[in-house]
């Protein structure tokens, strides 16, 4: 019998798991994919929003600002990449200045610190590549960027170290309410529990609606993105939004914590909850819109494009709390932007709820700190040299584009909740995320996975399931 079963190992689910692992509770996370961070959490803007966007007084606004304020300390404690680079909402049309003012006012109400509106000259000084058309901008120094995989993995690994169990390839198919407990039916058998946390992203409404008569509705809203090469890392320094208005919503152009430029997202409401394909129209639209705010954006430097699905709830509000007519079933639904920013605060909020419901006691042996995969590029030359002397695996470069060593890849595979696939290694180490897009390193990474997991090469996958990379041996047919 579990105290808590969490559905979904995305950033919300894992944030809840990590916060709950402070308590004397028996917890598990059920994930239908092969790894953590496989849905909405892996394909988004990787932004830490300042908090001026969400409607004042909403839960979204509250958790956004709280989550933002938690980032520095949390990123140090759990060792994931985060940078407070500041964000700019660029106004391109004079007649839309009132909208910028409105955004400023909302930000102030939401408790966003240090907000100010800057004029064209100051804007150009801050961002020389900004559009000639720009008239003013809302500058939020508290805006930031984060590695979404890094944060999600950090929560998950730390939760695992503190006793949370993770079950992969475990798809929830139904629930059975018993006296005061639940039976969670899955593709891998039943899990009995006192509490359920529904952090199932674009599937959260389906699970909610299985147990509650107060229906929820979530639409998968697809967002397409392009990622640009390190060669143009300095093209913009802040996260550049376009002021939404009658000329459309615009797309953001932002540096990433790893020195790329990210452009996106589009917004298309679709039916398919697995519809993470990019489209010709979407990719064309991205370029056109991004160039409205950033002049001559070098789209020739695109190294990859991808799409993610936001879990858009009809009321555009986070749905967090116990379902009224299903005691012990706690929703963590409708977590769309600024969900990544809010995740730490969501985790805290949900953990507090469970604590109150269950009267759980804090552990005395909770381990708060987690060490991420060592990136030797962050060391000075002397320390780097010493590391290779001590552990020669750090001297063999596997991914030449991102300079990822064998040592880092082995760490990614061997650590708690270690990588089992090429994409798993990629999310943890960046091997294969560079300009050649795994052309050179994938055979080598596959070999390392095969060796470490004690599997034949033909069993190694790109992203689990039937995503096999090898279909057979030469001349076997």
């Amino acid at each position: 019998m579990y105290d808590v079963v969490i559905i979904g190992a995305g950033v919300s689910g894992c944030a809840c798991a990590r916060e709950l692992s402070r308590y004397q509770l028996n917890i598990c996370v059920l994930e239908k994919e092969e790894d953590v961070c496989c849905g909405t959490s892996k394909a988004n803007s990787a932004i830490v929003h300042a908090g001026f966007d969400a409607k004042s007084g909403s839960l979204m606004a509250k958790l956004n600002v709280e989550g933002n304020q938690m980032m520095e300390e949390l990123s140090r404690e759990l060792d994931f990449p985060f940078q407070r680079n500041g964000s700019l909402v660029v106004c391109l049309h004079k007649e839309e200045l009132p909208n910028l003012e409105e955004l400023y006012e909302r930000g102030i109400q939401n408790g966003v610190k240090d907000l100010r509106i800057i004029g064209r000259e100051e804007l150009i000084e801050m961002e020389p590549n900004i559009s000639q058309q720009a008239v003013a901008a809302l500058y939020a120094p508290t805006g930031g960027i984060v590695c979404p995989f890094g944060m999600n993995l950090a929560f998950a690994e730390n939760a695992a170290v503190n006793g949370v169990e993770f079950y992969f390839y475990t798809e929830v198919v139904g629930f059975e309410k018993q006296e005061s407990t639940w039976l969670v039916k899955t593709s891998q058998g039943d899990f009995a529990t006192k509490y359920i946390i529904n952090a199932a992203g674009v599937y959260a409404d389906q699970f909610h609606n299985m147990v509650s008569s107060k229906k929820l509705h979530i639409t998968p809203r697809r967002g397409e993105y392009c990622l640009l090469d390190h060669a143009v890392a300095e093209y913009v320094k802040h996260t550049i939004f376009q002021l939404p208005g009658k000329y459309g919503k615009g797309v953001l152009v932002t540096p990433t914590v790893h020195g790329n430029i990210l452009v996106g997202p589009t917004a298309d409401d679709i039916e398919n909850r697995e519809g993470t394909n990019t489209t010709q129209e979407g990719l064309e639209e991205l370029t056109a819109r991004a160039r409205q705010t950033v002049k001559d954006l070098p789209m020739r430097q695109v190294i990859t494009s991808f799409a993610g699905l936001r879990a858009h709830e009809d009321g555009h509000e986070f749905q967090i709390g116990e379902a009224e007519d299903a005691k012990g079933f706690i929703d963590c639904a409708g977590i769309e932007s600024p969900g990544l920013t809010a995740a730490p605060a969501i985790g805290k909020m949900v953990a507090q709820m469970i604590k109150e419901l269950s009267n759980a006691k804090e552990k005395t042996d909770f381990i708060a700190a987690r060490k991420g995969i060592l990136d030797p590029k962050t060391l000075d030359q002397e320390a780097h040299a010493a590391l290779i002397r001590k552990q020669p695996d750090y001297g063999t470069i596997v991914c030449r584009c991102e300079l990822v060593s064998e040592g880092e890849i082995l760490d990614a595979i061997r650590r708690p909740l270690g990588a089992k696939s090429l994409d798993g290694v990629k999310r943890r180490t960046r091997a294969g995320m560079g300009r050649c897009q795994a052309g050179f390193c994938s055979p080598r990474t596959m070999e390392l996975l095969a060796r470490e997991c004690n599997l034949p090469l033909s069993e190694i996958t790109k992203s689990g399931g039937s995503s096999k990379l090898i279909m057979g041996r030469n001349k076997d047919s």
Partner: protein, 421 residues
């Protein structure tokens, strides 16, 4: 800190030939740095034949061709380090590299030869829409899996791009038991060598669809199909021309990109056309004592020409180190070579009448297919070469030979022009 006269970055065909040549030209202190676990570079996975017709007057496989140069390197007792990644080069020619045995180390060189080769254009860079499942490989990655690991990356294959590696892989995959359904090429002409189209596609009945591209990739986990459409003159897909192929694999052979990230960080000026360094007749970049050759300089069709070019780079680097030909890098007497009228670029970009060879080969590519035309060379306004050609295609590198005597004696020479007429 280690000290060498010449450090060569890359132990593929360019690096090997440059090293052997530098030694022949009187420099003993040479170090070749190779990031892979053996010398030879991409030749090691090119197990088909057709290499060496120019250099050795016989048909060799890639590994055999590489072996000839590796033997010469060993005989000449030239030092090399394998599994060694160069991570930085400074303008004063300090090379930072790393490997398991030596850790992180620095080398001070007097001259550097850049021979890092190239990489393949990826699906991401092509911005092909659709899902991102397993089963999408660049042709070279598939070649490595098949030829070096013995693994078949797929059974039902569609290939986008008619570059030489794609054509070679169409044949290889067929021979190993896969079914190659079609090769689609965005352009109205093939990017590969004529002989490869005949020997790799025609001989196996594999259709080549020109002016076609992939407009969608299906499959959440593994590729389950791709859609190909015809494109118009602006290379935009024409609605209504979609054709769906059920397949498990998409191979991409859509161009090679010289790997010049190290060059750029050390201040080498890069041509926007070739994506390789701009060099003078001695294959020297704008950074004194830094030379470039092979596919890092511009993408070649034949390894024989890589070896020739690398031999010249080795010789000039040796001359630079010995100080014999006191270096007159871009000293004002360099005559620019201008590419015009369909010629996309030339290598070299400038030529010095005193330093050039007696008969100096200038290589170039055209940007389109030209029939019944002339390759012309002008010294200032005077036409000195006018060679009739039946057909010239972008997929095959061209050359003209300039005569030193002619350039030296030409009054007030200020520009050389290469063009198609």
């Amino acid at each position: 800190m280690l000290n060498y006269d010449i450090v060569i970055v890359g132990g593929g065909p360019a690096g090997l030939a440059a090293a052997v040549s530098a030694k022949e030209n009187g420099v003993d202190s040479i170090l070749v740095l190779e990031r892979d676990q053996e010398l030879g570079g991409i030749l090691n996975q090119c197990i088909h034949n057709g290499f060496g017709l120019h250099t050795f007057k016989e048909e060799l496989t890639g590994p055999e061709y590489a072996a000839r140069y590796i033997e010469q390197l060993e005989e000449a007792k030239i030092e090399y380090k394998l599994n060694t990644m160069v991570i930085d080069i400074t303008e004063d020619k300090t090379v930072t590299a790393m490997n398991r045995a030596d850790g992180l180390f620095e080398i001070q060189a007097k001259a550097i030869i850049l021979a890092m080769g190239c990489r393949e254009r990826s699906r991401g860079a092509l911005n092909i829409p659709g899902y991102r499942p397993a089963g999408i490989y660049s042709a070279g990655t598939a070649q490595r899996l098949v030829n070096m690991e013995g693994c078949l990356p797929g059974r039902e294959v569609v290939i986008l791009g008619s570059g030489d590696i794609g054509l070679i892989m169409a044949r290889r995959m067929t021979l190993e038991g896969a079914k190659v359904q079609v090769v689609a090429e965005l352009l109205p002409y093939s990017g590969g060598l004529k002989r490869n189209i005949v020997q790799c596609l025609d001989d196996f009945g594999i259709p080549l669809k020109l002016s076609h591209t992939v407009v969608d990739i299906e499959g959440k986990e593994r590729v389950s199909g791709v859609t190909i459409a015809k494109v118009d003159q602006n290379r935009k897909p024409i609605p209504g021309t979609d054709k769906h192929y059920t397949c498990d694999t998409l191979l991409l052979s859509c161009g090679l990109i010289p790997e010049n990230e190290l060059s750029t960080s050390l201040g080498v000026e890069i041509s926007p056309v070739t994506a390789g360094p701009l060099v003078n007749e001695s294959l020297e970049t704008n950074v004194e004592g830094v030379f470039a050759c092979g596919n890092v300089l511009h993408v070649h069709d034949l390894v024989d020409f890589v070896s020739q070019e690398a031999k010249a780079a080795g010789k000039h680097a040796a001359a630079y180190v010995r100080g014999g030909a006191r270096h007159l890098l871009f000293d004002g007497e360099d005559i620019p070579i201008v590419a015009e009228g369909g010629v996309r670029y030339t290598v070299p970009k400038t030529i010095h009448p005193q330093r050039m060879e007696e008969n100096h080969t200038v290589r170039f590519r055209v940007g389109d297919v030209y029939q019944n035309c002339y390759v012309s060379v002008y010294l200032n306004q005077e036409r000195v070469i006018h060679r009739k050609r039946q057909v010239i295609v972008p997929g095959e590198m061209e050359e003209v030979v300039l005569k030193q005597e002619e350039l030296k004696t030409f009054p007030n020479l200020s520009q050389i022009t290469v063009k198609i007429e």
